[in-house]
Amino acid sequence: MLLLLLGIVLLHVAALVLLFVSTIVSVWTTGETSSADLWINCTSVNGFHCDPASTGEWIQAVQALMILSIIFSCLSLFLFFCQLFTLQKGGRFFLTGTFQILASLFVMSGAIIYTVMSPEWVPETNSFGYSYILAWVAFPLALISGLIYVILRKRE
């Protein structure tokens, strides 16, 4: 029982850490001389310097969705610990699961928008960086974690 609990919490924390890394580290697209992400564009052509990201609507939407997914995932972790102590025996962690599934949906929307707009933002010579891949990995992890919460029943 304790092992199961530990495993579930670990899965949740792993998804949360992936979300954090994907949002903060600046490697959504990489090229030989430049790297860009949601917040800044850096080039190392004439000495390394960074510009703030463009102020288009879609990049701001991606920023907002990633931040919202982090907020919801943190909220669901907090709610999980709350519900662990206050839920009736045999009850399900609906609230926790709902928030985690919402977080995974937000990550999915953000990654999809970035993919769709990538011909505009990612030049031909550049390729997607590891932060982008982490965002895509975080989505199924968070979804699975949320589904586990919805199916799980409180025992003992």
Partner: protein
């Protein structure tokens, strides 16, 4: 010594007013505008002197990427003179007030070629030493959105929606409890009247238990009808029964109702428990201990319903009797462990 002091003071007095005689001109730093719109370029000055009648304003324009500037507006001798040959002909209008040291102009129907720097120079004789001030004009096809505005809007709206949903949920729960309480009060009042009429109507009954059975049957029919409030009817029947019975007892204190509740609970709730027959009538809330003790004999469904109905009872007791609920939690904990 004295002459030295006098000379020094004269020199100082001579210097200071000269420095304070510089005129200071204020314009904006940068202006953004849409194509086709009008823009007002403001220019005002500060001077230690009174505003003279010979005050002059002049505006010059230097396009982006060019080094020459042309004059587009001049105000002198109390009359404005606007550009009638250059790129701004018929588009410049004087909207300032020289008496109030305001030399603003209005440029109409902007175009992309109007991008550039506008310089305002004002002179207030004898105060003529000053530095002209420039304002940069940027013309856009559509105004760009600042960074972070949409991000903040999306995050704020989603979190606001979340808070709204939570508030509405708790509000509905509270309202439902109040509504159920008031409905149960009115319904039980009606049934009580019907029951008493039935008892008095027919001839003296041979068996009192038969009358009571008929009364309880009638009540059973009524009790199986869920109240009109739609949210309650979606709850499970047992849930509703337990909570409404408790509310009936809560609403009507009295020995008779407490006993009737016990008798009816035996018939409907299908509880095999033995009830304590001692009448507890002073407060509505002690019958909750009956409920709790009853629940001990049953397994999980009653526990779930009793957890939910506990909320109703708390609210009902608060509304009906204004008793503190602290004793309830202790009672609950004592009876259900």
């Amino acid at each position: 010594m004295l002459t030295f002091l006098a000379l020094a003071s004269v020199v100082l007095l001579g210097i200071v007013p000269e420095q304070s005689q510089a005129i200071v001109i204020y314009t904006g730093w940068e202006r953004h505008a849409l194509v086709g719109s009008d823009i007002r370029l403001s220019c005002s000055f500060f001077s230690w002197r009174w505003t003279s009648e010979d005050v002059t304003f002049s505006w010059t324009y230097r396009p982006d990427g060019s080094r020459d500037s042309i004059s587009i507006f001049h105000y002198t001798g109390g009359a404005p003179y606007v550009d009638n040959k250059g790129p701004f002909r018929d588009r410049v209008e004087f909207v300032g007030n020289p008496g109030r040291r305001d030399g603003s102009i209005l440029i109409k129907n902007l175009d992309f070629n109007d991008n550039g720097t506008f310089t305002c120079d004002a002179k207030n004789p004898p105060d003529i030493v000053g530095r002209p001030s420039s304002v940069r004009l940027l013309v856009f096809e559509k105004v760009p959105i600042q960074a972070g505005v949409i991000t903040g809007a999306i995050i704020g709206s989603v979190l606001g929606l979340l808070v709204l949903i939570v508030v509405i949920y708790y509000l509905m729960r509270f309202l439902v409890a109040r509504r159920v309480f008031s409905l149960s009060v009115s319904k039980h009042g009606k049934k009580k009247k019907e029951g008493s009429q039935q008892r008095q109507g027919p001839a003296p009954p041979a068996d009192p238990s038969k009358v009571k059975a008929s009364v309880s049957e009638k009540k059973k029919q009524d009790l199986t009808q869920p109240p009109l409030f739609p949210i309650i009817s979606t709850l499970s029947r047992q849930h509703w029964l337990i909570s409404s019975e408790a509310l009936y007892v809560c609403a009507h204190r009295g020995k008779r109702y407490a006993q009737e509740y016990k008798r009816e609970s035996l018939t409907y709730a299908h509880q095999p428990a033995r009830l304590d027959e001692s009448p507890r009538t002073e407060r509505c809330c002690p019958s909750m201990s009956d409920l709790m003790r009853k629940a001990k004999y049953k397994k999980s469904p009653t526990q779930i319903t009793q957890v939910k109905s506990k909320r109703f009872l708390e609210i009902c007791c608060k509304i009906g009797q204004k008793q503190p609920v602290k004793s309830w939690k202790r009672l609950y904990r004592d009876t259900v462990t």
